[in-house]
């Protein structure tokens, strides 16, 4: 559905995207994750025609995006991270305005708008000017704008970042609903639990480079790595150097009195880890084995990228 090859973007001397390539399958949810400033929003703005790029190729449904920009944009809906509206318009008027731009059928436009307002739960406020809306309400309206006229591809940039926990869950439900309608979704988020819940494929971007693109199931298979979480009486920081030298330990992470140990060989680790911990001469409060989640995988991949 979307194919990106060797995409480069520079802001002056800063290279925001360093020849990134990926593809998104039709009807899937593609999770695009990375730290602030990694290049997520730049990529999205390029793919939605808002930014120019310096080099590379983009194909939407097999057609060159640059050569068929207007036609390609008709297939796309975009929810930016900080949506900006004409604040003097009401949400009804704004949706009507966008509907006319996208060439919605005039006879059905009123019905479409009423349904959209209902879907994002702002019907009650549809006659109020957008300037009086809260950030969460604006985010809901932005989603209504993005899904107007049934786009085939939906770009969502941090869709839940401005929402309260209830709104966030609703947003995720809505994304799953859209997936069932066979809409291809390109989701940028830093809430990794959200990505893990709804995405089929994950792409990690860091410092303008793609460091991993994998299906979520493959990601778990490949990078699944049990973690030993050990809580100590005291700060173990000065005493863990001996652990880091062991070849069956991949890496360690300290968070206060808690030490997380990422291991290479789980079976060997199970036998040996307590022996090594006892050598540290620090009181142990708790000990547990946990399966790594997307956040752990992300931290490891980004951490490795820093070492490159």
């Amino acid at each position: 559905m979307i194919e990106v090859a060797g995409l480069r973007k520079k802001y002056g001397k800063l290279e925001a995207l360093k020849s990134i390539s990926f593809n998104v399958k039709e009807g899937s949810i593609f999770g695009f994750i990375g730290r602030n400033g990694a290049g997520k929003t730049t990529t999205m703005n390029i793919l939605t025609g808002l930014l120019k790029f310096d080099d590379g190729k983009i194909y939407i449904k097999g057609r060159d995006f640059l050569k068929n920009k207007r036609e390609s944009l008709k297939l796309i809906g975009y929810l930016p991270e900080s949506p900006s509206f004409y604040n003097y318009l009401t949400s009804y008027e704004y949706l009507n305005f966008i509907g006319e731009i996208t060439g919605c059928n005039k006879k059905n436009l009123h019905k479409t708008i009423v349904e959209l307002l209902e879907k994002v739960r702002i019907t009650k406020h549809s006659k109020r000017r957008i300037g009086t809306y809260s950030r969460g309400m604006k985010q809901r309206l932005a989603l209504a704008v993005a899904i107007m006229n049934n786009p085939e591809i939906l770009f969502l940039d941090e869709p839940a970042s401005a929402l309260d926990p209830e709104g966030r869950m609703e947003m995720l439900d809505l994304i799953e609903e859209l997936k069932n309608e066979k809409i291809t979704i390109f989701l940028s988020t830093h809430i990794l639990n959200d990505a893990e819940r709804v995405c089929d494929r994950i792409c990690i971007i860091d410092e303008g480079k793609i460091i991993l693109t994998e299906s979520l199931s493959n990601l778990h298979k490949t990078y699944i790595q049990p973690i030993f979480d050990i809580e100590f009486d005291d700060d173990p920081k000065d005493k863990i150097k001996s652990l880091e030298k062991l070849d069956w330990i991949d890496t360690t992470k300290i968070d206060g009195h808690r030490l997380s140990i990422y291991v290479r060989d789980i079976d060997y680790a199970k036998k040996e880890i307590m022996k090594e911990i006892s050598k540290l001469d620090v009181g142990v409060i708790s000990y547990q084995i946990r399966k790594s989640n997307l956040e752990d995988i992300f931290m490891r991949m980004v951490g490795k990228n820093e070492l490159i």
Partner: protein, 255 residues
């Protein structure tokens, strides 16, 4: 065409709800009303405070000179009001990222630019026409003498309308190249005012749009053949600047 229609409607709602119609009316129609009243009343109000010679000057105003005085004031104040109220026509939309949704839904930059230009060109034209007729009504009521007629007033109004359509295209072009609205407004004002200097040079003044204003005040010969060159140049300038604005809006980074 979809973008043009939807932006035309949006511009009308915006102008109404953000009081742009009101501001533009103050800058044009209000002066048309105030100018003759002030000319008539000022010497009476200030009788005790201004020298007798100056007071006498006011009494020499005929309908023609009162009209010319209005034209001069309208150029100074009207241009100021138009520049400052419309300076963000494009820059505030780009800078405020208001175009992200329309552009990502395939809006046509040409439709947006044309809708904005045509909406405000029509608005300004109507307001100038109202201002000139209002001014004529008050001048006829308060002053006597001179050859001023409705025909002359309408001819002058037409030249002012054409000048402000040219000025609007300059303002819109500057608004598309500068991200800060204020810079666009000030640049347009400086250019608009400074071009009037050329009206003092007989051989070259016909090549500048401000000659339209000079002829509008030439009550005896408002329309003559010397205007042909100015009208053609101004017309081409409008087309060129609108095309450049559209080109700029096609190339600009919206996000």
């Amino acid at each position: 065409m979809n973008s043009f229609k939807s932006y035309l409607k949006k511009e009308a709602i915006e102008a109404l709800r953000t009081n742009k119609y009101l501001i533009l009316s103050v800058g044009t129609v209000f002066w048309a009303l105030l100018n003759p009243l002030m000319l008539k009343l000022l010497p009476i109000i200030m009788e005790k405070y201004i020298p007798a010679e100056l007071s006498e000057i006011f009494s020499y105003f005929t309908r023609d000179t009162a009209f010319q005085n209005f034209l001069s004031d309208l150029f100074e104040m009207g241009t100021l009001f138009i520049a400052f109220s419309l300076m963000g026509l494009i820059s505030s939309e780009v800078y405020g990222k208001k175009l992200a949704f329309p552009y990502s839904r395939g809006a046509d930059p040409a439709g947006i630019v044309l809708a904005k230009y045509i909406h405000y060109a029509i608005t300004i034209s109507i307001l100038i026409l109202i201002a000139f007729l209002t001014n004529y009504f008050y001048i006829n009521s308060l002053f006597s003498g001179g050859i001023l007629s409705v025909e002359i007033v309408l001819k002058s109004a037409l030249l002012y309308i054409f000048y402000y359509c040219t000025f609007l295209s300059i303002l819109m072009f500057f608004s598309s190249i500068f991200r800060r609205s204020l810079i666009a407004g000030i640049s347009s004002l400086v250019l608009g005012y400074s071009l009037s200097i050329f009206n003092q040079f007989k051989t070259i003044r016909v090549y500048f749009p401000n000659y339209l204003l000079y002829k509008a005040a030439d009550i005896l010969f408002v329309f003559d053949s010397s205007l042909i060159k100015t009208i053609i140049i101004s017309f081409y300038l409008i087309i060129l600047l609108i095309m450049l604005t559209i080109y700029r809006m096609k190339k600009i980074d919206i996000a």
